[in-house]
Amino acid sequence: MYGWLLLLPAMALLALFTHYPAIANLWHSFLSTPKGDRPAVFVGLENYQQLVEDPIFWQAFSNNFWYALGTIPASIALALLMAVWVNDRIPGRGILRLAFFTPTILPMIAVANIWLFFYTPEYGLLEQFTGAFGLPSHNWLGSKSTALAALMVVTIWKEAGFFMIFYLAALQSMSPHLADAAAMEGASRGYFFRRVTLPLLMPTTLFVLVNAVINAFRLVDHIVVMTRGGPDNATELLLFYIYEIGFRFWDSAYAAALTMVLLAILGVVALAQFFLLERKVHYQ
């Protein structure tokens, strides 16, 4: 009984802002958007039909897929590389750790402003570099072919340092005796890294991976600042599209249907994490 009482305030808020909205969202995705004096009516799967026939949704869906694929492995690989480097006693590693980690502390919105300027045609630092090498001017965020990639770079820049510290923590907690023993057996550095370090880092990798996947679908602040989904929907991501439909076009019913897609994706991630954990990814 006491346990229930202690839980009550937190559970009530969780229910109101997590469980209820998830269920209400499902219900609202079967209704129409109320307009003026016309109340919402049950329309069955109409919103989902609209969704299937909406080319912008499919574009956002595939963009988000490529965005996840482009940012997650790259930021994890970079994070691992950074961690290995700043774990060794190289000169100035304190400053390097700071350099890698600082983007994590900044708000995505500020990061977006900084990079928007960095990418600015003609004036931005990037253009000054490419210009110095005599390359033609290019509008990185303004052209369909490079806009999404330009945004991926920003995301990788912001996230790699965050993931680095988890790898660093894991590396520091590894027993030096393992390396001693491996060296005694004559294992090369690369062999030791592949066969001992990497497997021991698997739990960290899984944790970082789940976070990276969630972030790929949850964090769209930079889209608001840098591209607003353009040019020509080239940088439209799911959550940003939900925001646009829900709060610029005020079509709450269609936004609810779109949200269900996002919830389904997150559900799949949760299940995958559960089964991966079950399969015991490490040998400890």
Binding site: T18, P21, N25, I105, A110, I114, Y243, S252, L262, V269
Partner: protein, 278 residues
Amino acid sequence: MNATLHVYEPRGMGRALEATGAWVLGLLWVLPLLYAFWTAFHTAEFSTRLSLSAPLTLANFVTAWHAAPFARYFLNTLLLVTMVLAAQLVLTTLAAYAFARFAFPGRNVLFALVLVQLMVMPDVLIVENYRTMTALGLKDTILGIGLPYMASAFGIFLLRQTFKSVPRELDEAARVEGCTPLQVLWKVYVPLARPTYLAYALVSVSYHWNNFLWPLIITNSVEARPVTVGLQVFSATDQGIDWSIITAATLLSTAPLLIAFLLFQRQFVQSFMRAGIR
């Protein structure tokens, strides 16, 4: 940490190569930030001309500060992060205590229901939560921004782990002394969990200082806007492309957190680490 080199740490050429690689990457990493600093501290004519003779100026910061109600935005953010953190600390402590030390029917189911929020964060449920806030009359209020985040699954999970590691003997000793369960929580568990609280507090403050999309949706007045939304409103409207002022405003809005981070680096990094190892 031992002074001798790790067996597999590179030596000689390998070491030099590794250090060079690390420094090149590090330089690349700070480049966008350094460029922003350069622009913010120089007049517009030097904003894109890198010249050593360019005079430093604070004029951009002064202009930015006066061009938008940043003082009010800072106050709003400060109120927001304080309110959210205070509520989170109380709610998550009570809930974590219940999960860690009380047996009651439905405990596992309820814990699973809590964990749902780790995946389905309020950031994703913007459409429904907006509806709820409208119904509650909390639209365009600071409470409205913070309320969905106050019961934090992440905090409950983190504290539960910590509380579970507290030796039962301490708990029982306090009870023998005649402490009520709440007194035990306050006198035994909370003091022992101080590092976890610090870690959680730093992560929570940086999260809510930086949060953007939900505050953007739920606020539309100067009185409620946090600094992230204020910055966006400022940079998106009528500033044209005066990059010196926009970057100055950007740095300004992140300054408190950035300075705190530079001063307490070690605590920040350790806190983020601690919060991540679960």
